[in-house]
Symmetry: C2
Subunit: 159 residues, 2 copies
């Protein structure tokens, strides 16, 4: 299983490519796609789709792991994130990925063993669990790696 993990957004979008190799999760690539705040939402979705297509074509994952949406933000933000999710999920399927979704609590439990861990605990465990995480990784990348780990833990070893 080669997973593309995504922390969805239209402003900043974390992306990670992970594989389970020799008994350990290994990071092949990660980035944070940032879109220009001067562009409108539709133009930002276009940027996201184009950059994501390039990454998918290059790394050819067979699985998408993506965070679910919660409404603790304002509705306008939630709509924008949902629109981004829709195109991400479509592009992944178009490129032959199975799609799995995980909630924030489920991700924290998979990574740290505790559903209410704070961000630093998640980052700390990601660094311990995964090979090749760059020193320069941003928060959104850690989130994308974390959702990938969750997917590999649940579905990756049984294949």
């Amino acid at each position: 299983m080669r997973v593309i993990g995504i922390d969805p957004g239209y402003d900043r979008l974390g992306v990670a490519i992970l594989e389970f190799e020799n008994g350990k999760e290994s990071l092949l690539f990660s980035t944070c796609i940032e879109t220009d705040k001067k562009l409108n939402l539709n133009e930002r979705l276009f940027t996201i789709g184009n950059q994501l297509t390039k990454i998918i074509k290059e790394y050819q994952p067979d699985t998408l792991a993506i965070e679910t949406i919660f409404f603790n933000q304002n509705q306008k933000t939630a709509i924008g994130v949902a629109e981004a999710r829709g195109l991400i999920i479509y592009l992944a399927q178009q490129n032959n990925c199975q799609v799995y979704e995980f909630g924030p609590q489920e991700i924290k439990i998979a990574v740290t063993g505790y559903g209410k861990s704070d961000k630093s605990a998640v980052i700390d465990m990601v660094k311990r669990l995964v090979i090749n995480v760059p020193e320069t990784a941003l928060d959104d990348e850690y989130d994308a790696i974390a959702v990938s780990i969750t997917c590999l833990a649940q579905y990756g070893r049984s294949r």
Copy 2:
């Protein structure tokens, strides 16, 4: 200007292709894409994207006219519709369409001259304004034609 007008949804999605020719709006194609209720949302988004891609490739519109979302439904439905909108807007841009969005009231005003018209008044005016509307058109198709008319009225004649 050749418009693809869309009444977005993941359960039923109205699609229309309109052009302004010889002083009148002419319908080239319309359909209602219906997705299988037994499929999950991601699979339904995949169906929508694939069918829409075929229609766009065949009719090559240069403009997308799409309805905005309102939160008078439940949140889960709104999220699903937003996810569908995201992929529709992305696919249209990927195929060189300009994107325009219109709210329900704006559409009613453009079609009937009155922002609180009921559905039958909108359908009645669509039939009068547009050439080639089939007798068998469904409500979602009328909505897709109505958003296309709105777009042509605002932007179509100045090109």
